[in-house]
Amino acid sequence: GVVPAAPPSSAPLPAPAPPASFSEILRLVRSGRDVPGLHRPNVTASLASPTPSRLARRPKPWEGARPAEPPQPGREPGGSGALGPAPLTPASP
């Protein structure tokens, strides 16, 4: 059921260091110790067929609109794709 959340705090946020419990869990796992309350189900695939679909695919908001140039100063018009036959030389990372 619905669990209403507390309203967000208006206090300034502290620096987001990982919370104490995050560090503790990391420490427990790295030292090979059991984490309390760990839930390890043993779920396997059913290999069943999916429930048949009854709904038609809905068009996306951008479908039907041409992939036109958005208004932006300094850009040249033209909608040709950038992925031509010759790949760009890979840059070294």
Partner: protein, 325 residues
């Protein structure tokens, strides 16, 4: 409410006790339906949970939840069946679920050798393909009706954090990596098509503009979002600063060519319009932990969902998106 800070309208929340949210995605079929991929213990240990939520005016309730043996890091809905969705997990597997079959996943596809941080179902009309991205530095292509991958894409020299299909170019996807590059791939060739050394930091997320097939955005550990035009990748077309910690996920608006949303380890969600001289439209601060999941509704204009490590999923309409443009 108006103003640039915090003023989200009609915000609703759902708590997943003992679970840390990694990803949310609205159903492409059902306006009120939202999937959340979550992990026990921040994804470090324990199981994962897929929560399928139902939202309406009265609030958010749990439609169905599924457990998996390891933490779940991403979720994507099928584009050809309203019941079906796919998750990716810490044990290197993908799971295919049916919301009408509560007993467990239909299929499990385990090939990646490390955590799978990203999974995406193709958005173009003619294809039904899934792409996954893993800490094992590879991306894999899947036909959801076949249990084995169709192709493995190698080239990244670091963890892959995000793999996203182009909404316009069939068979084309982008990947974002810890090797600081954004790469563009075509399923017809195993080698990379374009390499963009986008940041001097790990790139955690990427997305495609829905109204310009050449434009992408990346979000990185350097706290910035950068825009990339595939016709000239030497410099970014925009650089959005404001987040104070790593940008965890970026999403282009489904309705507007120049609107974007981002969430961050600074706990905030921010909304941007890169065509404006002051592009930061609004900052929403309603989480108390790393905010990892973010999606924009395809049906309800301006509606946003997010999730964070504070166990909360939130659905709301930020003021800056409330009025149709």
């Amino acid at each position: 409410m108006s103003g640039a800070r915090g003023g989200a309208r009609r915000s609703q929340a759902f708590r997943l006790p003992g679970r840390h949210g990694y990803a949310v995605e609205f159903s492409p079929y059902l306006p009120g339906r939202l999937a959340c991929a979550a992990a026990q213990y921040y994804g470090i240990a324990g199981c994962g949970t897929l929560a399928v939520l139902e939202q309406n005016e009265a609030g958010i309730c749990l439609f169905r939840s599924f457990d998996w043996n390891d933490g779940l890091f991403d979720v994507t809905w099928s584009e050809n069946n309203e019941h079906v969705l796919v998750t990716s997990s810490g044990d290197g597997a993908l799971q295919i679920w049916d919301t009408a079959k509560p007993t467990g996943p239909l299929q499990v596809c385990k090939e990646h050798t490390q955590e799978v941080y990203s999974v995406d179902w193709s958005q173009t009309r003619g294809e039904q393909l899934v792409v996954s991205g893993s800490w094992d530095q590879t991306a894999k292509l899947w036909d959801p009706t076949v249990g084995r991958s169709l192709c493995t894409f190698k080239g990244h020299e670091g963890i892959i954090y995000s793999t996203i299909w182009s909404p316009h170019i069939p068979g084309c996807f982008a990947s974002a990596s810890g090797d600081q590059t954004l790469r563009i791939w075509d399923v017809k060739t195993p080698g990379v098509k374009v390499v963009i050394p986008g940041h001097q930091a790990e790139i955690l997320s990427c997305d495609w503009c829905k109204y310009d097939e050449n434009l992408l955005v990346t979000g990185a550990v350097d706290c910035s979002l950068k825009g990339w035009d595939l016709r000239n990748v030497r410099q970014p077309v925009f650089n959005l600063v404001g987040h104070t910690y790593a940008v965890r996920r970026v999403k282009f608006s489904p309705f507007h060519a120049t609107l974007l949303a981002s969430c961050s380890y600074d706990f905030t969600v921010r909304f941007w319009d890169f065509s404006k001289p002051n592009p930061l439209l609004e900052t929403v601060e309603h989480h108390t932990e790393f905010t990892c999941g973010l999606d924009l509704s395809l049906h309800n204009h301006g509606q946003v969902a997010d999730c964070a490590w504070d166990e909360l999923v939130k659905i709301y309409t930020p003021s800056c998106l409330a009025a149709p443009v």
